[in-house]
């Protein structure tokens, strides 16, 4: 055996053990969290770092937080060098530039010690239900022109000191948020989850010895980098470009151009350039560089090297070049609360470009997703409530497969059950189902949009809507048709007023908001769709007879 190498079984066990610790960290967080977004929607992430804050493993959770992790940990180490930390300490940060691009995402990073020496860090992020600011949920887009309107900004602070929560810091936080019980519960859940992981990590180090584990870390980073380079080298060299548009950044505002130029050098590196995109916008929708990088990394992984566990090594060959001041690289204090809806759109834009290089791995554009917050004071309890919803619609058609419905696309979140919403918030959900004929026609059809009708059972509340694709349709590829546009309708049984996709307004008891998400784009020409598939769509209600005739020239007779 070579002096510096680790035998293959030890390496495998350590690597899988790290991933399993990162996964368990997430499961603990989910199981101890208080907010619906974290405990039901899986809106969080986890990671494990070496003693220099180099990321070795991640749990399979939300990529936006995941891709930001390496940068967050290194910044935290600038504020708190390892020799200033003590066992039981933990650092809290939510700054949008340092973190994952908006205030609701709080990171907790905990050093792990063996015999008084830092041997690594465990970390998790979680989307808090509220961080204060202009509207419930802290994701208001329109009318928010600087980050200081978006709530409490926390630069790295020592939130836990030698095992004791700093009650003074906690009081500052809880005094600034609408849902102090849930935020407190989730911050403690993050701490609990880190503790669980730190115990397991220390146990692993004790079992194998610091030296062996650190040699395994080196091998993990080198291998994952080499594997990513090999995968990237297989993509034909060249520059691939694509453009799409966000509807706008609020009522009466212009579209935002999202443009990307992706250059593969054919030797194992790739560079993303988003500079041709619009400038930073004066509304809370901008994508900070950590967030832009996170989704670029995610897209490359999905296209080129999907099954490789993500480490900092896999991210090394992926470069970003983004003009400062551009929509995808704003300067603080650009507002950004509503940036969650960008995650699919950043991927879609990259997907459009990579379709030219890797046609069999690309898909029609996703439906968008809807992330509205409805909040106010619950009449029954006199306490604040925020209903944070995650509405997920369709995947685009893929080579060989139709788009799925009701699945989370790029962010690994889950549907929040109706029973959870109705039990914890003064709302009733009247309708939740597919909308036929909304998926883009194609050889492989795009997934249908989803409709969710929510009635307010409270005297009043603030709706802070967060959607898109009310103007620009999700594109189809290789001849596939685009998905149907989204609509948001207030009181469909009444006058059916159309709501803007990013507006904030007061609603009252009995108001029903009908969120109708866009359909996803198709793949390939509709004429190439096999007739059995069309008949099945008609029989199962995805496509009506009329639409089947119109889009595919299908008829019952032809089928017989």
């Amino acid at each position: 055996m070579k002096a510096r190498s680790v035998d293959p079984i030890t390496l495998t066990v350590i690597w899988n053990c790290l991933i399993s610790i990162a996964d368990e960290l997430g499961v603990t967080l989910r199981h101890t969290a208080f907010s619906e977004g974290v405990r039901e929607g899986d809106d969080f992430s986890t990671a494990i770092f070496d003693r220099n804050a180099v990321m070795i493993a991640q749990g399979n959770f939300s990529p936006g937080h995941l891709g930001s992790m390496p940068a967050v940990a290194k910044t935290v180490m600038q504020y708190f060098p390892a020799d200033t930390l003590k066992p039981g300490d933990s650092v809290l940060v939510n700054d949008s530039f340092i973190g994952a691009g908006h205030f609701p995402d709080t990171y907790e990073i905990m050093p792990v010690f063996i015999e008084g020496r830092v041997i690594g860090f465990v970390a998790c992020s979680a989307h808090q239900v509220d961080m204060g600011g202009a509207a419930p949920g802290s994701q208001k887009v329109h009318g928010v022109t600087e980050a200081f309107q978006e709530g409490l900004r926390i630069l790295p602070v020592r939130f836990v000191r030698e095992g004791k929560i700093d009650e003074d810091i906690l009081r500052i936080v809880l005094g600034n948020v609408r849902m102090p019980d849930k935020v407190r519960g989730d911050l403690l859940a993050q701490h609990t989850a880190n503790l669980t992981a730190s115990v397991r990590l220390a146990k692993m180090f004790n079992a194998y010895g610091v030296d062996v584990v650190e040699r395994a870390y080196e091998a993990i980073l080198d291998r994952s980098e080499a594997n990513m380079r090999a995968a990237l080298a297989e993509v034909p060299a060249g520059t691939y470009s694509f453009e799409d548009h966000l509807d706008d950044y609020g009522p009466g505002t212009p579209p935002i151009k999202m443009a990307v130029d992706i250059t593969f050098d054919g030797k194992g590196e790739v560079e993303f350039d988003f500079s041709r995109s619009s400038d930073t916008v004066p509304a809370a929708l901008n994508s900070y560089i950590n967030y832009t990088r996170a989704y670029a990394v995610f897209a490359i992984k999905a296209f080129c090297n999907a099954l490789e566990p993500q480490t900092e090594g896999t991210m090394r060959p992926i470069k970003l070049k983004v003009r400062e001041g551009c929509f995808f690289n704003p300067k603080f204090p650009a507002p950004s609360g509503g940036r969650p809806i960008l995650q699919i759109r950043i991927f879609d834009t990259i997907n459009g470009a990579l379709a030219k290089a890797l046609p069999h791995r690309a898909m029609g554009a996703f439906s968008h997703w809807s992330n509205p917050n409805i909040g106010g004071i619950d009449d029954r309890t006199g306490r604040p409530f925020v209903m944070y919803d995650v509405s997920l619609a369709g995947y685009g058609g893929r080579y060989g497969k139709d788009g799925l419905e009701g699945m989370t696309p790029v962010m690994n979140c889950s549907n929040i059950p109706i029973e959870v919403h109705e039990t914890f918030n003064p709302v009733r959900i009247h309708h939740f189902g597919f909308i036929p004929d909304t998926g883009g026609a194609g050889r492989w059809r795009g997934g249908c949009g989803i409709r969710k009708d929510i009635e307010l059972l409270n005297s009043t509340a603030t709706l802070s809507h967060l959607g898109d694709r009310h103007v620009f349709q999700p594109y189809g590829i290789f001849g596939g048709k685009p998905g149907a546009l989204a609509e948001s309708v207030l009181n469909p049984q009444g006058n059916g007023e159309r709501l803007h996709s990013k507006e904030t307004r007061q609603i009252k008891r009995g108001d029903v908001i009908s969120f109708r998400l866009s359909g996803a784009g198709g793949y390939g020409k509709p004429a190439e769709r096999v007739s059995e598939a069309i008949s099945r769509d008609v029989a199962e209600g995805y496509v009506t007879r009329e639409a089947a005739q119109r889009d595919y020239g299908w008829s019952l007779l032809a089928d017989k």
Binding site: K182, G185, H191, P417, E419
Partner: protein, 559 residues
Amino acid sequence: MSLDLDSVDRAIEEMLKAGRETVAVSLLHAYANPEHERDIREQFAKRAPHLLVSISSEVSPKFREYERTSTTVTNAYVKPIVDRYLRHLDEALAARGIRTKLFVMQSNGGLISPDLARDFPVRIIESGPAAGILMSAIVGKEEGRDQIITFDMGGTTAKLGAIDDGAPAIMPTFEVDLVRYKKGSGLPINVPAIEMIEIGAGGGSIARDNKGMIVVGPDSAGADPGPICYRLGGDAPTITDANVVLGYISPDWFNGGAMRLDKQAAERGIKRAIADPLGISTEQAAWGIHLVATSNMENALRIVSVERGRDPRHYTMVAFGGAGPLHAARMARSVGIPVVIVPYGAGVGSAMGLLQAEPRIDVTATRVLRLDAERSGREIGGVYRELEMQASQDARRMSPGREPQWSRYAQMRYAGQGFEIHVDLPAGPIDDDYGQRAIDAFKQAYLRRHKFLDLEGSVEAVDWTLVATIRSNGRAVALGGRRDAAEPRRGKRLAWFPEVGGYTETAIVDRAALADGNRIAGPAIIEDPDCTAVVLPGDVACMSGKGHIVIEINSEASP
């Protein structure tokens, strides 16, 4: 809100028209209020009494509509089959004058009565594997080993499970039909079950040539028509055929000689389907089939061990099922498991486990209670009085005249959390300070699990469970044992071991001839009527004092 009976009638009409035989009913919030679901069931009883109805408030009275519905639909899906099967079995046993009570194993390792199994068949989905794991835990205990990987290979599938620190790994929910064993890719089932990975590899798995590569399974010739060598009409080569050709299975002593196998037919089949198309010899083709099947199972073994954080070097494999001990040594060697145990009765391992299991009734009520040290005792007492009535009834149905042993547990959390932890509640009378004792039990369990306590948080319980276990007097015998054979068979035959150059003269040992402490160096084949264990060159098998064969795996030998 009242139930719209017209819409129920329309649904019943549609079901009748479509000729359905089973139906699942799942309404929002039925875990809290089951009335409408019960009304719907009554309406079915009136209008369509022949339909089997599963309602979510009984099958899985738990919060979260998707998981509850998926569990209820699964229950409805298997209900007609289990219903027919168990009814026929019961009648057939009665007709043969067998008067011992019939029990059915559940996925969690406890027994229930057949009528409960017919009502809730979703609880018995993993019953076979659960029994096998119970057996392995007992074998482990007898041999002083508490970290065990279980490997069960029969005619159609192979199953791998784990025992950590002596306790079978049990999950509160599980998923069926996973893709690449990934969490979230299957259908969630809200029923406690043993942790297990199943792959389509068994003695009957069919081998074929796929563009120059040998592919084995997941389709199986089963027992009928079975492998070619059975001469029952099977014409596709299987893993068993390959094992006969390789000399691992004796053609003359299969099933203790009750069945003769046709080795020549197996050779012809493998030559035709694999060797000729690939341009290799029949022996090489048979070896290829064996190797591909073994490596498929190795992948599953890696998931259950290394991928889930279990270091194989600290685990023992218990191998059973008709084909398990034949493939076990090679799999163990490839991942670094140092010891394989072939238990007494390995060929019928799950059945041995069944004999050890105890009748067990779990009754659960969902009642969200925020616990208060002073006031909660009475409420908890009320919940458990109801549960006890229900459970005593079931227990009497299962084992009349036997007093069950009671235990209690609850699913508890800090008020505000969305998931609960399992908390064993104290035994004894439920008096005024039981609330405080329940809170203490939660805090202990939470601290043990999460290493952290929120001193200000209030505690609530969601599900309350009462367990009635009926102890079996003296039925729990040791598993180890010995089959007496007047004239133990011994001999030699050629068997294929590539590490020593192919066909090699190999010792054949009758398991019945082994005495405590006997050691056999590989290559060797140890035969029992119900299974065959292969000992590889470099490994050593030893008969333990308990009657189990313990094979020490030489990990330095070539895999």
